[in-house]
């Protein structure tokens, strides 16, 4: 806008009336800026929330097998994977099924007599991964 066409106190038709200016907020554009900021942060918040939800969806499978000692006798040991809460107790025949195991490479721990003997397994989504016969040394002890 050129200086000649800008509002003038001399021209009552084009100048902004004093009564339209809020003395507490002489910059009305701030309100618009505020709303834009609220909108931007709202969109970011929704996006991050969606990423959190999608990222938090874990996929699970199961691991099954039979635990034997070195003489092929069944062992009622506890079975779990490192870092997960779920624990399975093998039955009298040594068989176990550990459910709700996060997919991917996991360290399977067979716990007996205070010692956790470990083996690596790869768990597939919604499938039961068979690890077959798992032989542990029941003579190991600690205390």
């Amino acid at each position: 806008m050129s200086l000649s066409s800008s509002p003038s106190f001399e021209d009552p038709e084009t100048r902004i009336q004093d009564s339209e200016i809020n003395p507490n907020n002489p910059h009305p554009q701030r309100r618009l800026t505020f709303r834009v900021l609220i909108g931007v942060f709202g969109v970011i918040a929704v996006g991050l929330a969606a990423l959190n939800i999608l990222g938090g969806v874990e996929r699970y499978g199961a691991v099954a097998g039979v635990i034997l000692d070195l003489n092929d006798n069944p062992v009622q040991a506890e079975v779990f994977v490192l870092g997960a809460d779920n624990i399975a107790l093998a039955g009298p025949d040594g068989s176990f099924t550990l459910e709700d195991v996060p997919v991917g490479g996991q360290q399977l721990i067979v716990g007996y007599n205070g010692i956790g003997q470990s083996l690596n397994v790869s768990v597939a989504n919604s499938e039961v991964t068979q690890v077959g016969l798992v032989r542990i040394d029941t003579s190991l002890e600690d205390g």
């Binding site: 339209e20 200016i21 809020n22 507490n24 907020n25 009305p28 554009q29 701030r30 309100r31 618009l32 505020f34 709303r35 900021l37 609220i38 942060f41 709202g42 970011i44 918040a45 991050l48 929330a49 990423l51 959190n52 990222g55 506890e78 779990f80 490192l82 870092g83 624990i87 721990i109 716990g111 007599n113 205070g114 010692i115 956790g116 003997q117 470990s118 190991l140 600690d142 205390g143």
Partner: protein, 246 residues
């Protein structure tokens, strides 16, 4: 136009200020969660920074310490292999932990730190396992998850050994993270300081200030501390200190 201008000229209300600040907070929390640091951990770190302990000359800060003069109210029992005993107490300003007994400091979380147990005296009480285990980055005293730095006196046909072990659901995971024989000239009858330094995935074990074992492991990144006396031994210690790293 005038109506719109009048409406725009009302300025920001308290609701708008609140909404904007609230959204900024929500964005911050969600971003922290998304990028791997929980809000609880963040607040814990802030609490540790603002918490106790003066900064020493090397830039480290004491995060927790106990000389056992005030008793053991802050501690709870460690359960090892479904066995636990409350045979720990203080005597003449020293911690005493008899066989199968240990203490664990609940409700504390440390990530990178130095944990030192001073003036340890380990004596044999029966023909079994003679050792002291320093638990760190540990959780759940009833079924320990975490690490241990263990000093094992010569036992039966085994030489003295020093270990780093992983613990999960109360089981000591085999194979160990690292294990070495103790130095031949180690004075088992004397007293010594045990120290663990955990920095990221690097674990270091010291005896009397000398590095004796170092390993890498990424299973646990934070947790609390404890101390355990094995089944055939009794230990006493004079002081415990957890410090931030310089």
């Amino acid at each position: 136009m005038r109506k719109q201008l009048r409406r725009l000229s009302r300025g920001q209300g308290a609701v708008e200020y609140g909404l904007l600040l609230g959204l900024i907070a929500v964005v911050g929390i969600l971003a922290v969660q998304l990028f791997g640091l929980s809000v609880f951990e963040l607040f814990s770190r802030v609490n540790l920074v603002l918490g106790e302990g003066a900064t020493s000359d090397d830039g480290s800060r004491v995060l927790f310490s106990s000389d056992f003069d005030g008793g053991l109210d802050d501690w709870e029992s460690v359960n090892w292999n479904r066995r636990s005993s409350d045979l720990w107490f203080t005597e003449a300003g020293r911690l005493v932990a008899d066989r199968y007994s240990g203490i664990f400091l609940p409700d504390n979380t440390f990530d990178d730190f130095s944990y030192r147990v001073e003036d340890v005296d380990l004596s044999i009480t029966s023909n079994s396992w003679h050792g002291a285990s320093v638990f760190f980055r540990a959780d759940n005293s009833s079924r320990i998850d975490g690490y241990s730095f263990r000093v094992q006196r010569p036992n039966r046909n085994d030489p003295g050994r020093i270990y780093f072990s992983t613990w999960a659901n109360g089981y000591q995971v085999n194979p160990y993270i690292a294990r070495v024989e103790a130095p031949e000239d180690f004075d088992w009858e004397g007293t010594y300081d045990l120290e663990v330094v955990a920095r990221g995935t690097t674990l270091q074990g010291y005896i009397n200030g000398e590095l004796v074992l170092e390993a890498e492991d990424d299973t646990y990144s934070s947790g609390s501390v404890g101390l355990y006396s094995h089944s055939g031994s009794s230990l006493t210690a004079d002081r415990i200190e957890v410090s931030s790293l310089p």
